[in-house]
């Protein structure tokens, strides 16, 4: 099982500069745990109190995960995940 995860510039310190890494898991939650094992520290940047951070967007096959189950969103082999920090401010 392999899921490609696109990593934004600001999180590439956790991936040795790699723009994309491979992970696995049958849900977004499992994938994030799997990424944490290979890239310690990344989970903290994605989650806050066990939920996705408000200003981090995660997409599975171009769908914002907030509309498809959040951390429970299902994943399968070959899915493409993109992580993008929100572009926002006050």
């Amino acid at each position: 099982m392999a899921i490609e995860v696109r990593i934004p510039t600001i999180l590439r310190t956790y991936t040795g500069g790699e723009k994309a890494v491979s992970g696995d898991g049958d849900s977004l939650s499992a994938l994030i745990d799997n990424l944490e094992a290979s890239h310690p520290g990344i989970k903290e940047r994605l989650l806050d109190n066990g939920d996705l951070r408000r200003f981090v967007n995660v997409y599975i096959n171009d769908e914002d995960v907030r509309f498809i189950g959040g951390l429970g969103a299902e994943l399968k082999d070959g899915d493409q995940v993109v992580v993008l920090p929100a572009v926002a401010g006050g």
Binding site: T9, I10, F55, L84, A86, V87, G90
Partner: protein, 148 residues
């Protein structure tokens, strides 16, 4: 230092004036690593607010997919303040997530939708630290690629 061409500068200012009193936002894309702001992309402020801006999440993904396909990056990330000075707010600093970008702030507080000068300032925002930089407006970006 941010070097930006007159047409792009004017485009950002016009966008800020048009959307006043809501905050306007967008990027200027350029080839990865070039530090050349070449292509103005106006974005919709999904927050539609005078005190907050946020790119719509679907439009954000579409934008980045375009950038990746063209080997581009956001060289400038801009937004307007409509009642306060052109200086990054605490929220701007907390949410800044493009360490390589020039963060441009335009303030329309003085003339709103009307003609008249605006504050146009640029910053680097890295790990919560704000550094203002000079803005140089040129008639056209130099064609001398690779030399900064």
């Amino acid at each position: 230092m941010l070097t930006i061409d007159r047409a792009t500068y004017d485009g950002i200012v016009a966008h800020a004036k048009r959307d006043h009193p809501d905050e306007a936002c967008g990027i200027v894309a350029g080839p990865e690593g070039s530090d050349r702001p070449e292509r103005l992309v106006e974005m919709v402020n999904a927050a539609g607010s005078p005190t907050f801006y946020e790119f719509d999440s679907t439009e954000l993904l579409d934008l980045y997919k375009q950038l990746w396909a063209a080997d581009e990056e956001p060289v400038v990330v801009y937004h307007s303040h409509t009642a306060t000075e052109a200086y990054p707010s605490r929220t701007d600093i907390g949410l800044a997530s493009e360490p390589g970008a020039h963060y441009v702030l335009v303030s329309t507080r003085e003339h709103g939708n009307n003609d008249g000068p605006v504050e146009f300032r640029s910053y680097r925002i890295i790990d919560g630290e704000v550094t203002e930089e000079e803005v140089v407006v040129v008639p056209e970006l130099s064609t001398n690629q690779g030399v900064s």
